[in-house]
Symmetry: C2
Amino acid sequence: MKTSKPKVVDVARMAGVSTATVSRVLNDPSVVSEATREAVLKAVKDTGYRVNRAARNLRTNTSRTVLALVPNLSNPFFSNILSGLERELSAADYSLLVTDSGDVQLTADQIQRYIAAGQADGLVILDGSIDLNELQMVQSAVPPVPIVFACEWVEGFSGPSVRADNEAGIRMLVQHLWQQGHRRFGHVAGPDTNVLSHRRQNAFEQAVQDCGGEIQHGWMLPGDFSIAAGKEAAARVAAMRDGPTAWVCASDQIAFGLIAGLTEAGIKVPDDVSVTGFDNIEMTEVFNPPLTTIHQHRNKMGNEAARCLLQLLRGGQPSQAAPTVMPVYLVDRQSTGPAREKAQA
Amino acid sequence: MKTSKPKVVDVARMAGVSTATVSRVLNDPSVVSEATREAVLKAVKDTGYRVNRAARNLRTNTSRTVLALVPNLSNPFFSNILSGLERELSAADYSLLVTDSGDVQLTADQIQRYIAAGQADGLVILDGSIDLNELQMVQSAVPPVPIVFACEWVEGFSGPSVRADNEAGIRMLVQHLWQQGHRRFGHVAGPDTNVLSHRRQNAFEQAVQDCGGEIQHGWMLPGDFSIAAGKEAAARVAAMRDGPTAWVCASDQIAFGLIAGLTEAGIKVPDDVSVTGFDNIEMTEVFNPPLTTIHQHRNKMGNEAARCLLQLLRGGQPSQAAPTVMPVYLVDRQSTGPAREKAQA
DNA sequence: TACCGTTATGTAATCGATTACACATCACTG
DNA sequence: CAGTGATGTGTAATCGATTACATAACGGTA
């Protein structure tokens, strides 16, 4: 009775070949003759052999593992992306290591820890708040560390990234609102430190200008992507006279908070003002009123990011050039409606 | 200029000691004299040395990694738990590997793959739909694989688990509704295959009986934990005459779907019927009406599960005995209100 | 026949850390 | 002073797979 786990030697002995041959069958079957290959495979099956990852990793100096840096694991938004990543990676026999980059400002040093320790071969970063210098230090290491950004990214970083078409999304929303007769537009932004916030805010200003709508400085409210931010914004909005009739929020959660706050203040959505979100998270559909928003293919973004990284890991060119931009589309629901001019008190 | 990564030998040379001593300083400092310890630590710092995990793993036959089996990564419910897990594990210098047990029915073989390959030292399972036999096979391996269940669990499995006090939660809800004057109760259940569904459903029946309320077979609706399930239930509810005035749902998402569906059908919540959820996910607060539900400490459950597993990994006794049951509490919001008898048409 | 190129396989070095065992030193004790 | 135990350190074996290099066998060609 074999008591310990089977190893290559055991397989080799049973198949009557050398360990080298066993290894070859497992890693590059084409160089082995048909007959021996079958004998070895049979022996593998009979012994129940499984390669020892640690040994392989040591020898080959790889880990077949990818590390995902997630700004906040508690945020449901990211779970879909992780899901997409995981699926694609595991299909390629890679594992997914997850860490919450959360409250700590990640330094090159900390990132290197994973790489240098041989725990991960590459990174998928979902966190755009990482310092560019640190990033470049990581990337300029020898050998360079394969990195792919997903969803968020860092301005100035030259490497592949997968993202939604934020500009197009915002444009669709503004145009949609415009067509419903809205002329005065407001925005509740995401966190100041976040690329997506900036992109969406800029796109918003641009889009409103393009169709000739009105924006005022006081209608650009700060926030982060949270429900709480939406609520705070609601307080300000409630206090406005002749404010916007349409509010474009940087995230669904902000929109939820805003609508909740407005409703509480007696302002009706969409009768008095229209509100839009961004992301189309699951809940938007059952929210009351159901939220008009922009849908992103989060799962697919995860898949795509994984594919991108795998390509890098296999030594493919940094598919440099432009970031991969995933299309988005408008989901028209009942949080938006025809503009109604406020009584010009 | 050193071109390659520093290794123990490099550190040893610089500190003027042997590799054994370096290793000792890093792993069990107490056996090394003060002076050498400092010299070594300095050398470690100066060289920028980091242990090679693969080498260590190979030698020690451990991975300092824990695998989390998540039934559905896309479900926001789990991200909080992962977050709690990750925090606790990384504090103990363990890494978190994540895999979606999703659509595939996991077999012992597949689980063993991770363990046997030396990719993980233990498991945290969030998926209660794993077959008991398979599980026992895994656990009865030599050496046994440390496993901790979190949130969900498998009936009959003898091992540590961390869970919410589902019974107490349901009881609180029913009593709360009873106090508001409700006498006829209905339930929308979770998936048939899930322990939580059963627990909550049984607890519901028990609680209603205990206070003398009325249940009918037709008021126990099937579902899964999804919004869609809630919507389907709504259709049935809308068709009822003299149905329950209070609906207890197995999850917040079901409640959302149910309320959305009822509202659409012209039934008002809470004026016509009261509805409760379970989980207190973030969105409950801004939902319209805000949802009365049961709060679970998901983060803490993650922490606790991690601590449990770490204890096992360190050779502690399977802290057997009873599962760890985390307290829950009622969050009273506006989806529930005084019972109003339906017109006895 | 002698030589060459393929193809298939084996031998043994190697990856980098941990650790069993051996050894040296020193302070005490009887 | 010899003996004992505690303490600190070094030498070298070891974990299990991969792979550079060597070798063998064979068919074909000059």
